[in-house]
């Protein structure tokens, strides 16, 4: 079975809005996939479904063998421990420093302090923030905050890294660096990356598989490098 499989998936919100209609897709282990589409196209709903922030109204979503659609609320944490999530707004805890923010998932899992330390330092080294261990989020730049968020996402060595517009709040130069980092994680750690974005530059430059979503429908599935800018987003 593929690492991620979405079968006949519908998402209809309570107010009657159909966010997704009959989505079918599969993603292999180690893939790097962009999900693109304009605002309100349904790409966020799709991404949120993968980490079970939303439940599909109909259909099945398999992530690493778990049927997310049938996952009970109290079991959701099991899924979340297998995936890393990177957010547009970083979602760091302002009262914790960089080290504590990255250690947060491990601490809440009840892992020993002495086992947490090497893992946190390793993750921070990967994202290049080892010297900012004691800084607080408000002392960091946007790019650095995003690196902390990525470090926290990879601390559990997840199979999948889900990125919801990770460069949305960053300038082009910083975005480039962050993309380099995510690409590095994909290649070095063999982590599957699924990234929602509407940054054309990044999509064009990276030459990865692209899924185009428009009005809740999967309009196109472009294999690595075959997506061209003129096929309007």
């Amino acid at each position: 079975m593929e690492l991620i499989e979405v079968k006949n998936c519908y998402k209809i919100y309570k107010n009657g809005v159909t966010a997704l209609a009959d989505i079918n897709l599969s993603i292999k282990k180690g893939d790097f996939v962009f999900i693109i589409g304009s605002t309100a196209s349904g790409k966020s709903s799709l991404i949120k479904m993968l980490y079970r922030e939303e439940k599909p109204t109909k259909g099945n979503v398999y992530v690493g063998g778990i049927n997310v659609a049938k996952l009970r609320n109290r079991k959701v944490y099991k899924l979340r421990r297998k995936i890393g999530i990177v957010f547009q707004d970083f979602k760091l805890l302002p009262k914790l420093n960089v080290y504590e923010n990255v250690a947060f998932p491990l601490e809440s899992m009840g892992i020993k302090k002495k086992d947490i330390k090497p893992r946190v330092l390793e993750a921070l080294e990967r994202v290049g923030l080892k010297e900012k261990v004691h800084s607080f989020p408000n002392q960091l730049s946007g790019g650095e905050c995003q690196r902390v968020c990525i470090a926290r996402a990879i601390i559990n060595k997840p199979k999948v890294l889900i990125c919801d517009e990770p460069t949305g709040n960053l300038d082009p130069k910083t975005s480039k660096e962050i993309m380099k980092l995510i690409d590095y994680i994909n290649k070095e750690m063999h982590t599957t990356v699924i990234m929602a974005t509407h940054d054309r530059d990044i999509v064009n430059r990276m030459k990865k598989r692209v899924l185009l979503i428009d009005h809740g429908i999967l309009k196109g599935d472009f294999a690595k490098g075959s997506y061209k800018e003129n096929e309007a987003i």
Binding site: N73, P105, S108, N156
Partner: protein, 299 residues
């Protein structure tokens, strides 16, 4: 050990959050304190009331008035018959002369009036004062005595006892209602405190959920917070129970109004009552925070 690490972290978090929302925590603690003081008073009163009614019932005697024209011989006959009844504990006979003498001693007015009475003109009646072994048999014994000859009337203070019991029942029920109402108010306040804690930590909770923290680990600090609020709220009531009751007991010399109504010895009950109070505080605290955690965490 993993569970202990999670536990100690949760307890720390709970204390932190109590101090973070100090004004609200303080309000819930005060409310818990007042409620538990009431609960304590209610429990102590109801324990003692049960004893009072028992004591009063056991001290009751049946007074049997004989006909005015009955002789001392008739009385001796009746006494013989009564002695055969196994339900009767003791029988004291008082002739109308005895009653007259007693009343004369009690007051000057009676004395002057009664001194003119002779054996024949004495309007008083010969009487028996009877004690039964079991207060429950009061009614049955009086009924059977009524059937004997030369009996004018039988009285056993039925109305007074009934009135007392009714009064005590009302007092007991009223305290129970007040206590339940107060417990509800406390539960509401504590769950409100927890709700505000949850809202103030909403961001943190969202992130916890996203990074894969299990629900129980998210919920536990809030349950502990409620638990700790309940326990802190029960400290003052326990102190008041222990010292208040001992003081009252000593002040009243161990009885209320008269020697018949004895108060329960402090050493017998204060310990039990204290435990009940802590348990109520902790349970109410935990249940109300559980309610909030379920309602507002939505996990």
């Amino acid at each position: 050990m993993k569970p202990f690490r999670i536990l100690s972290k949760n307890i720390k978090d709970a204390f932190k959050s109590i101090f973070r929302n100090f004004s609200l925590s303080f309000a819930s603690i005060i409310c818990t304190t007042i409620t538990l003081i009431m609960v304590s008073i209610a429990i102590i009163v109801s324990i003692n009331v049960k004893d009072f009614t028992k004591a009063i019932e056991n001290n009751l005697s049946i007074i049997v008035f004989l006909d005015r024209d009955s002789s001392i011989d008739d009385a001796t006959n009746i006494q013989k018959k009564l002695k055969k009844d196994s339900r009767i504990d003791s029988i004291i006979f008082e002739s109308k002369e005895d009653v007259k003498n007693q009343m004369q001693k009690e007051s000057e007015v009676f004395n002057s009036i009664m001194s003119e009475w002779t054996e024949e003109t004495n309007p008083l009646q010969n009487e028996f004062s009877i004690k039964v072994k079991n207060a429950e048999n009061l009614k049955a014994v009086s009924e059977s005595i009524k059937k004997l000859e030369h009996i004018d009337s039988v009285k056993y203070g039925e109305e007074i006892v009934d009135k007392l019991i009714v009064t005590f029942n009302i007092v007991e029920k009223a305290t129970i209602i007040i206590v339940i109402a107060l417990i509800l108010v406390t539960a509401f306040l504590i769950s409100n405190t927890i709700k505000i804690t949850i809202y103030s930590r909403k961001n943190e909770i969202d992130i916890m959920r996203l990074v894969g923290t299990s629900n129980i680990v998210i919920k536990l600090p809030f349950l502990f917070e409620g638990f700790i609020l309940g326990i802190i709220g029960s400290i003052v009531p326990i102190i008041i129970t222990i010292y208040g009751y001992i003081l009252t007991y000593d002040k009243l010399n161990g009885h209320l109004f008269s020697n018949i109504i004895k108060l329960e010895n402090p050493s017998n009950i204060i310990f039990k009552v204290s435990i009940v109070i802590v348990v109520i505080g902790a349970v109410v605290g935990m249940l109300s925070s559980y309610r909030s955690a379920r309602k507002y965490l939505k996990i």
